[in-house]
Point group: none
Chain length 195, copies 4
DNA sequence: AATGAATGAGCATTCATTCAT
DNA sequence: AATGAATGAATGCTCATTCAT
């Protein structure tokens, strides 16, 4: 693996462990097994390195959302949504402290936001992706034609997001099984509204 | 107003504007119109001051949750839930950057968590409060006897939480009317599941 | 006891416990059971308070030296010297850290020195006092007429001084009996030179 | 010379001039011709730097004490002791304010003590070294077989120590000749006791 | 005389960044 | 590209002193 990737992974590790405020370039360098100077051969600044790491979060969720689009009309809606919910729970959980750290520095927040705006990406796109999927299912008649697709997406992903937030806050870990239970309970309640 | 309160309010203002990472004691003092030394006559450290400010967030939501308990059986369930949703949207919106900043420093996270554990409080209690309310309504027969009260609470507050998060992330403001629309759409979709 | 004395005694206690560098006016006030402001009603500054405390050290030794002058020709020379040695060991031991602290701040050193010069006092006077006593004994024929009285004084008090210094450095306490043994051993060796 | 040594020497200079209490990192850096930050590339803290300087005091005396052991039985005892006395007077004089400063901060005192305990060194070892030398001379029959070697060492070094202390206190300098006279007078008085 | 909140200059220390090698 | 010593601005915090009450 090249040094740039090693640095990025080391940074991610340190950031998740120590939090943005307590993450120093010295420690990143140590974790990456290189010198502090090397960081600056591959990233313009610590902030750039952080933004680079940030952009690589939520990969599983993004993949799940991409594949979700092509699942419309195939496996049961509920199964599809559950798959997304599980990916969301997993990724939100793993990345929550990184994601939240953007609010501790307006400069980072601004740059992160602009970066997403440019590429027309961003975490809020997740909700749009679920919405888009549900619209397709609506056209296919697999969910009620009065269903507010966006509201459904917001409820599903919102509950997963807050759930992950609270687990992180409480310092608790959750097994895959517990995650599945959470998804099921939420989907049980949501399902009547989708018909 | 006494200096301690002035400092706390100034700190809140600066923290919301600059983010935790860019908030200095010098700037808090300036905003409070006092010397840096005075900060330390009233708070043991910058961290303590931050935790103090943090604990005073979400006051409206907490008040709404308290009054919610006594609303069981009175006004329509949906109205009661909407009231909570609006309080949540408002408070989450106003406090999101502060709340999220706790993840940028594990020490702060730890102390904030312990503080809540001691007082048996915390943001996760919000969901429990809504759950408790819904359980009462279930006993009163105003919602279906199969309803998963906790899942309903998680969906409602979770969607509000993530909505506020995304607004903050996008740097957008939302009118009260828009907030009400969001609440309505979410509750529309949730309602069938409550019957 | 009046407040001024209470403050002085509290300061002495704190200084001996914490060392000059770690002694704060806040702690002195706490130890004296008064406010920090009161310190300044009785002493012009913390430095003045320290100098006041400093001047009240070695009281026993000074008393012993005063009474020593009138002992010339009475009890055996060796007994008189031993009495002085014991007073020196006791006082040096109790005051060493205070005495040494004057070297940590040239301003204090200067003022302490000037204070003594004015009043024609000072710790070096101790050696002169023993010298004066020995000169009397020499005139009385109780010690050899070739004896270098000042050298004898320097040897006796010097060994006591360094002994106390080293005990303090090592953090050891010494019983009165051990102190007496030290004095005896030193005087045994010194005695042949006095004849 | 490397920066670490330059910093240490600069620190020693500033400490001797200003006293521990008035020695700031800013001034040390200035005296060393480097930035304050550089201090921390070579020493963990100001305290560590001080302890480093402290451990390099009394080098001449230590050398004299080492060579003293091999002088037993060679040059006259009195000459050997005088050599030690002169080294002691010189080093005590030059280092007194540094040595005494350890009593102004219990933390420094503790760490300095522990450092010596570990390495089985320390200023009190000086007296033991002289004692050891005298014991050899006793075995060689060059001093009386009843002589209390430790008491002799304590008298000799103690008087030198206090002499240096008082010179520093009085702010006086002493020529090499005056130092030799002091040593001679003290040894004159001590000599009868050694036979 | 006694208070103690307010002060603000001063301090040790940190850390992202640079640059000569 | 890799290094790591050097930097110095910036930070949180301390504490002797003041002064209105």
């Amino acid at each position: 693996m090249d040094l740039k990737s090693r640095i990025a992974e080391a940074a991610e590790r340190v950031l998740l462990t120590n939090g943005l405020a307590k993450t120093t370039t010295k420690e990143i360098a140590k974790a990456a097994g290189c010198s502090e100077g090397s960081l600056y051969n591959h990233f313009k600044s610590k902030e750039d390195l952080f933004l680079h790491v940030l952009r690589n979060q939520l990969k599983n969720l993004m993949a799940a959302l991409t594949s979700l689009q092509s699942l419309a009309g195939t496996s049961p809606v509920r199964d599809n949504l559950k798959r997304v919910a599980l990916a969301a729970l997993g990724d939100f959980n793993a990345s929550m402290s990184l994601i939240c750290s953007i609010f501790s520095d307006p400069n980072i927040l601004y740059r992160h936001r602009e970066g997403f705006t440019e590429r027309n990406e961003g975490p809020h796109r997740a909700n749009e992706a679920v919405e888009a999927y549900l619209l397709k299912e609506k056209q296919l008649g697999r969910i009620g034609d009065r269903v507010d697709a966006r509201a459904a997406a917001d409820l599903l992903l919102g509950s997963c997001f807050q759930h992950a937030f609270q687990l992180n806050f409480l310092g608790r870990e959750e097994s895959l099984e517990e995650q599945a239970q959470f998804a099921d309970r939420v989907l049980d309640l949501l399902s009547p509204g989708l018909e």
